[in-house]
Symmetry: C2
């Protein structure tokens, strides 16, 4: 087992009717509600939040995009300074919470150019405004982690940052807020959570029983509940399990004492930045390619995954690895997420620009740093489809 | 799934050589080292800690007992006030950390009688001195939870307390410190961890996939590693897995969104208070009795436990429940922990005083409050043995 630090001070308040807890959890001061395109006004969450905060001084900033833009965040920073805001409340999904993390850090950033926060991946954050979240879309885990992903629209660069100063003070997770989500967002959320687990699990064995079994627990639960949510979308327990799975997939727990990969995410980020694909869609396309191209290095863990998650025990080592990859693809396809670039209208021509970006940055990805730009080319080529 | 709050601000620093991190983690001020009977002087941990804290103003208070005494804790409180201590560092196992939690609270207690903290189970704690721990015995989970158990020696009363103010600021877990533990303490620790999980798992189903699978993950890992530690006591990964299992068994994670029992612990506490049995020994004796007497109410979860942890799938419902109880007993016996009162020299005569205590306090235990004093009598009678 590898050495690790386990630390996560976010208080998660989970369950039916928990939005009303905002009344006691939110500190005094000038509160800024940060949200997206207005879906929270349609599903009643906005009204619930505003009712609960009656009596507080509440300001609003809306219009945070999916894959939140640096430019939009900087407009929000300006607004916060103008109004003398003291506490941020993100209401929405991962994009809104990620934006809020960057905004909270950028407000106090003393350098000349706040994009530097993303260039340095958050290591230069020295202070952040306290913030909390009301989660309405289970997917990114941002509600209980220290990371964010921000896109500079003008140059189409998507970068991540993280800092111990970027944990939400609290996050409210009411599974009932997810009943009205469109199927596409549910599917994206399941793929995102599943891939978060795989990035921390599918590396090489270090005899960490707990990290492995916890990871497999989340994978199995996601597969089971994905079936349930399709057949019975208003089942509370199904929604609750999916929501809690998404949080646990990326709150640091299953990362304790194991190596991590994240190459599928890094490659996927480029597909989103250059072609505007949904984050979840990029992951279901790239992950099976990463598994196939890295099948030797990752073989031991792919075999364990195949056996414990899908019950694959027959055939040669190579056959079982192939079966595990096929089962993963079947799962993504079954829930309606593409597995080939051709399914989203991309072809061979999309590959070279991504490989060039990797080369320009000198990136070597993966748990061993062996996923070179050439390997990225092989992974994307594996994903061309028919 | 039940509603829940998930909150745990303790920073766990886990792995080989992590005691040296004390140098950066410990705040400035007057540090009080709190420890037990001196085993940390034999295994080198005391020297490592003192070396690391060289340059700080360090005081010492030793002599914390197993099942720490209220009277000893109060002597420590007096010492803290005399010396103007500002930070407590518990070095040892659960008893030392539990004592430190009570001491940290009692220092600031404003009522006439600090025993009141235990009478009110910690609800009246309004302030506590910050403290941290260096764990040397994986068992109680105290290094990452908000609870403590203290015994008033003069009246033989064993009581628990808990408070959000009683989380360690940080805890250092170096599995190498556990190599020199006597087998008896290893066994007690495994039984304690196992039973912590069972108290939160073996109730009734609420369709919480994650809590169930995480609990089963810890149970399976404990069973596997108990075998390994017997055959290869100096294997680092085995020690690391046992240590991390013990922490996760009681840090609040697997309690999220499920009912909890704790009757086995409450009955066990009386056996320790009245007869001085090791805590772990009381648990391996009582737990199979709780399972057997409550087999109807707990039937669904006992069946799930039998299937997922021990692979029991054949036979009638009643037969499979019986098999699951037998497998649990076999596991405890195999690692050297007794399962009958007769094995520790107790007989029928020990039962009535415990039942009377339960009656006097008006206690009804268990996840549904259905474990009445009569049921406690039945559980202990089930455990008489030959």
């Amino acid at each position: 087992m590898d050495n690790f630090v386990c630390y996560n001070p976010t208080k998660v308040v989970f369950g039916k009717g928990t939005i009303k807890e905002l009344a006691t959890l939110t500190p005094k001061g000038k509160i800024l509600l940060i949200y997206g395109g207005g879906s929270i006004k349609k599903n009643g969450v906005y009204t619930q939040v505003m009712e609960t905060l009656k009596g507080s001084e509440v300001f609003e900033f809306s219009g945070i995009e999916a894959n939140p833009h640096y430019e939009t965040c900087m407009r929000c920073v300006k607004y916060i300074k103008e109004k003398g805001i003291t506490f941020l409340l993100a209401v929405g999904g991962g994009s809104v919470i990620d934006a809020t993390k960057f905004i909270a850090s950028a407000v106090y950033f003393e350098g000349a150019n706040p994009w530097d926060i993303l260039e340095k991946r958050g290591r230069n954050i020295t202070k952040a405004m306290p913030f909390a979240s009301v989660l309405t879309l289970p997917a990114t885990g941002s509600e209980m982690d220290r990371a964010a992903v921000i896109t500079k629209w003008v140059t189409k660069e998507k970068r991540d940052m993280s800092s111990d100063l970027c944990y939400p003070v609290f996050s409210i997770l009411d599974p009932e807020t997810t009943y009205t989500l469109p199927q596409r967002q549910i599917t994206n959320g399941i793929v995102d959570s599943f891939t978060h687990v795989m990035e921390q699990y599918l590396t090489y064995p270090v005899r960490n029983q707990i990290a492995d079994r916890f990871a497999e627990s989340i994978l199995i639960s996601l597969i089971e509940e994905a079936d349930n949510v399709a057949s019975n979308p208003h089942d509370y327990d199904t929604r609750a399990n999916l929501m809690w799975c998404a949080t646990l997939a990326l709150n640091g727990l299953i990362a304790c004492g194991v190596p991590q990969d994240w190459s599928t995410h890094m490659i996927g980020h480029e597909l989103t930045a250059l072609h505007g694909l949904d984050h979840g869609v990029t992951l279901s396309i790239v992950l099976p390619g990463t598994m196939n191209v890295m099948r030797d290095e990752k073989g031991d863990k792919i075999l364990q995954y195949g056996q414990r998650v899908f019950g694959i025990i027959e055939g040669s080592k190579e056959q079982r690895i192939t079966q595990a990859i096929e089962k993963t693809q079947e799962f993504f396809h079954k829930i309606g997420s593409p597995i080939y670039l051709s399914e989203v209208g991309l072809d061979q021509s999309c590959i070279a620009p991504i490989v060039k970006r990797m080369k320009d940055r000198g990136w070597a990805l993966g748990e061993r740093g062996t996923i070179t730009p050439d390997k990225v080319k092989a992974i994307l080529t594996d994903r061309l489809g028919k």
